[in-house]
Subunit: 307 residues, 2 copies
């Protein structure tokens, strides 16, 4: 099976209570690719970069089975740049700089070589851009998942409501679920969102784990209790990459397999936050991933006979 991922490839400058980095590779599609390529090949990347995006990073991605035919390189512009500072609780951050650069002209095309892919992950982009990608696919993927954010709810809600009707799964955080529905209770918000189009919904709660909703079923995956969250940048995209990577590897989109996939996504996210940017994702081994998944199992497993 193969997985198409559409999103940004960028530079980030990040400040956390633990340290600071001036310029590190980032972007949603980068995190998705590094996470998913542990499980499925090829990962088929659709993105846009400027002249300044490092060739070594492209090479590293290629070595991991990431196809880059869908990555447009703009010779006379810079790559997307984001800068932010995290608060002590790491759940909130201030955006300091957003330089769109090449992203202002992003009009993603699906290369012929990507046609027929079974899984599609639409990163956080303008809903119109997300819809364009779906409509460029000659064969509908078995599972289309998408991310979005408060910015699009405020500036492009009608378009967002449309693209929601075309996807199978929405992956957002708790604040976004509340904003999208105007409902404080996440259970009520989930019910409302499952009426908007997606059959599956994941609500990410950062250090408090993630909830998966489908029909009347709900599954909860904890986040791993960590001594320190060094840098949460990209954790949500890494989660999505691990989740979709596991599904695409197995080709099984049953609810039971989605439970496994959400644990895999949580495990990958727990690595992501250990170092700046995608640094840790580039080092992580299969043995480490398996051990981390076992930790999640131990964290929540209990045996109980009801008598």
């Amino acid at each position: 099976m193969s997985l198409i991922t559409v999103g940004t490839m960028a530079f980030d400058a990040i400040e956390t209570p633990f340290g600071k980095t001036d310029k590190i590779v980032g972007g949603s599609a980068v995190y998705v690719a590094y996470a998913a390529s542990n499980f499925v090949k090829p990962v088929q990347q659709i993105s846009i970069v400027g002249f300044d995006f490092p060739k070594e990073e492209m090479e590293e991605l290629r070595n991991r089975g990431v196809h880059l035919d869908g990555v447009e390189i703009v010779k006379d512009k810079k790559s997307f740049f984001w800068s932010g500072r995290y608060h002590e609780d790491m759940n909130s951050r201030d955006t300091l700089i957003t330089d769109l650069n090449v992203l202002a002209d992003f009009d993603p095309k699906v290369p012929d070589s990507y046609q027929g892919s079974e899984f599609l992950m639409l990163g956080n982009l303008h809903p119109k851009t997300q819809l364009n990608v779906i409509q460029e696919l000659r064969q509908r993927p078995r599972l289309i998942a998408m991310d979005t954010m408060n910015y699009w709810m405020e500036s492009a809600m009608p378009e967002l409501r449309i693209v929601l009707k075309y996807v199978d799964m929405l992956i957002i955080n708790d604040a976004e679920a509340r904003q999208l529905t105007g409902l404080f209770s996440l259970v009520r918000a989930a019910k409302a969102i499952l009426q908007m189009g997606p059959k599956y919904l994941i609500i990410k709660k950062g250090e408090h784990g993630a909830l998966l909703f489908h029909d009347d079923e709900v599954f909860f995956a904890p986040a791993l209790p960590l001594e320190d969250v060094f840098d949460p940048t990209g954790a949500g995209d890494t989660f999505a990459g691990g989740f979709m990577g596991h599904l695409a590897k197995s080709g099984d989109i049953s609810f039971d397999n989605m439970k496994r996939a959400i644990i895999v996504g949580s495990a990958m996210a727990s690595f992501c936050v250990e170092k700046f940017g995608p640094t840790r994702l580039k080092e992580v081994t299969k043995e480490e991933i398996d051990a981390r998944i076992q930790q999640f199992k131990n964290l929540v497993s209990f045996e109980m006979e009801l008598v």
Copy 2:
């Protein structure tokens, strides 16, 4: 086995986004007793009430196997009264009124008939009062658990540090764990608290579940995702009552059985929040409890072969 519970028996006035009650029975020992008596008999209550505490409530507790020999009745004073208003997120609240009344003179005595009890739950009281109860016991219980709060950390920290050396388990919320240690990371805070005396620590995170720490082990129990939290008053004490009730019923204080106990506590707390005060706890049946525990199992269980 039997369980001694020391704490308040009181009246509460509660305001939530869903409604308001002017005067309802409450207090930590009341919630612990209603929760624990589903699992273990006798529950041996140590508390103090005024002339106004309802005889029918005493009768109802007795009918559930709760011993009241340790409950002092003061003929010329009123019972402890607390009034509070919850914010929309239900995780924060404003205290409007605290009338200590009889509680100002509370000097708990352990009746002879309670001596030899194997389990002791010390509700949130002055650390000196908690220590007095421990020292009145001629035989040390197999497991002593205690609750505390920010107020005692600010006003009686030296005494709190002493009583912590005498207990096996501390049960507090995330904000309290952070305040007690000055550490933001709950994992680091847990390590620090396990150096202060208790061998076991439960950190309650409200709607985000609860963590159990012991040595290098950690277990996580989610909270049940609910459409509405009607009234969170007493949920923490109900959790403790279910937890200790399960342990006392089985007499098994292994870490594996504590995992089951924390699920039982979470299940009982999920009932507590469905109605004002202890109302729901008085109605709940064994069948409902078993079904709720099964819901918790379904919420987090996944099968995964690592290949």
